[in-house]
């Protein structure tokens, strides 16, 4: 009988573990949002994180966006040529970058650069008893570490997405006008005319959501870290994987919410 039940028991145990894990993350997120509005506040920490998450992410965001926009223009031109629709390059690059590729790529870059760094830093602090030291110095680790990081990501990642969208469109513009023979003024006019306000709003809302996910996962897995170097490594890896998957899942849900017929 056990032979028949064992696979179901394993599936049940895995399901319970996943649900418990989701529950812990949701509780952690709820506590973080409650602490955002309760003093004490740490403006100096927030300013440092705005700089770290925002300003220092600009190079990677810019490089990712410009190459993606350029490749997108080439693909749309080649694909469009199959049914004589090469002229749609400006419009599709604009919609593709602003609605999808801009926020998703910025989100994934932030997960790679910021989530990993937050998780490794906080996990190391846990392993070296710095989190315990914070508590003994009457400082709540969630208020001092998590809230400034999540708040900073909520504020700056939409700005990074706006920068990424713009640079991505410029990447497409450079390829289209430089290699594919598009007129400069007409390309920009077509881009401007085709984009709607909701495209931009959805892009920025996605950026805010992805920023919160990226920072939250870094803080959560950092604080859950186990002992030793292996614990820090595992926390870092898990945080990046969780942040990336959640960003892609949230992207689908937000796209449904904004654009479903």
């Amino acid at each position: 009988m056990d032979i028949f039940l064992t696979p179901f028991a394993a599936i049940g145990a895995a399901t319970l573990a996943i649900l418990a894990s989701i529950g812990r993350v949701v509780m952690y997120a709820a506590q973080t949002f409650m602490h955002i509005f309760r003093p004490p506040f740490y403006p100096r920490e927030l300013a440092a994180q705005l700089l770290h998450i925002g300003y220092f992410s600009l190079p990677v965001v810019g490089l990712t966006a410009i190459f993606t926009g350029a490749a997108l223009a080439l693909q749309i031109y080649a694909g469009g040529a199959r049914f004589n629709a090469e002229a749609v390059v400006p419009q599709i690059v604009a919609v593709g970058m602003v609605r999808e590729l801009g926020p998703v790529l910025v989100g994934l870059m932030i997960a790679a650069r910021v989530t990993s760094s937050i998780a490794a830093e906080i996990a190391t602090m846990k392993v070296t008893e710095q989190l315990d030291a914070l508590v003994t110095l009457s400082t709540h680790p969630m208020k001092y570490l998590t809230v400034p990081r999540v708040l900073a990501a909520l504020i700056v990642v939409p700005m990074l997405v706006a920068v990424g969208d713009t640079i991505g469109i410029m990447g497409g513009y450079l390829v289209a006008t430089g290699r594919l023979g598009f007129n400069e003024a007409a390309y920009l006019q077509n881009t401007y005319n085709f984009l709607e306000i909701m495209d931009v709003v959805s892009s920025l809302v996605k950026g805010a959501a992805f920023g919160v996910i990226a920072a939250m996962m870094g803080c959560y897995y950092g604080m859950q870290s186990e002992r030793g170097a292996q614990g820090v490594g595992k926390a870092t890896k898990t945080s990046v994987v969780a942040a990336s998957v959640l960003i892609l899942a949230a992207n689908y849900i937000l796209t449904e919410a904004f654009f479903s017929a």
Partner: protein, 248 residues
């Protein structure tokens, strides 16, 4: 000052604390000894609320340590962590002045820095260390900075977790003397956990020996050698044979 009664804590099947009873008077320096993994750190962290005990009571100044205002409770304590636990992202003086620049008694930055430098001098560090970062300091200097941070707000109770671990014998002696001097001059109540007998002899007024999750012996430092307790004798003499099982 501190009354611990029937304290229990388990991690899975491992009963780390199995009914600890311990009391410390105000101004007393208690040193808790015992082998590695006998629950000394768990006991200390339970008093501070960093670990929640399964059962038992901890009273500090007659008040339940688990109830009431946490910030006010923790404000009575200073703690020197085993590895220093200095904040890497902050300079030395910011580490020392961490508590002084936060909370209801928050001081101006200049005043907090002045006090931090004074405390650094008290633990034998020069003012030019103040603007360096913890990673730039040696292990002994990090311990001193940790000690300066523990005493910065002049707490009533100071905890020392393995204060000499990782230090050479001379530096261990210096840190032990510093701890003793500071505890006496502040009139603070001190609890130290260690398995370094030189620390015990330098710091303790009273000693408690923990093994198998309970206090096997407690008494004044001058009765340490004559206790007749088999656990304590085996520990003091470093023998493999005795009631404490030594795995070879």
């Amino acid at each position: 000052m501190i009354e611990i009664s029937n304290l229990h804590k388990s991690f899975g099947d491992n009963h780390v604390l199995a009914g600890i009873d311990l009391s410390m008077a105000k101004g007393e320096s208690m040193v808790i000894i015992g082998g590695s993994g006998t629950g000394k750190s768990v006991l200390l962290k339970s008093v501070l609320g960093l670990i929640t005990p399964d059962s038992g009571t901890i009273l500090v100044n007659g008040k339940d340590a688990t109830a009431g205002d946490r910030d006010a409770f923790l404000a009575q304590f200073g703690m020197l962590f085993q590895g220093g636990a200095l904040f890497d992202s902050l300079s030395v003086w910011q580490n020392v002045a961490f508590r002084l620049m936060r909370g209801e008694q928050k001081l101006h930055k200049d005043k907090a820095r002045e006090i931090a430098i004074e405390k650094l001098r008290r633990v034998g560090l020069k003012a030019n260390v103040a603007d360096r970062f913890p990673a730039e300091l040696s292990g002994g200097m990090q311990k001193r900075v940790g000690l300066a941070r523990a005493i910065a707000a002049e707490p009533d109770i100071i905890f020392f977790d393995e204060p000499t671990t990782g230090l050479d014998p001379i530096m261990s002696g210096v840190i032990n003397e510093l701890i003793r001097e500071i505890v006496v001059e502040m009139g603070a109540t001190a609890m130290t956990i260690t398995h370094d007998m030189s620390s015990v002899r330098a710091i303790a007024d009273k000693v408690a020996m923990i093994h198998d999750g309970i206090v096997q012996w407690t008494g004044p430092i001058d009765q340490l050698e004559t206790s007749g307790n088999p656990y304590l004798d085996q520990f003091l003499n470093g023998r493999a044979e005795g009631p404490i099982e030594a795995v070879r």
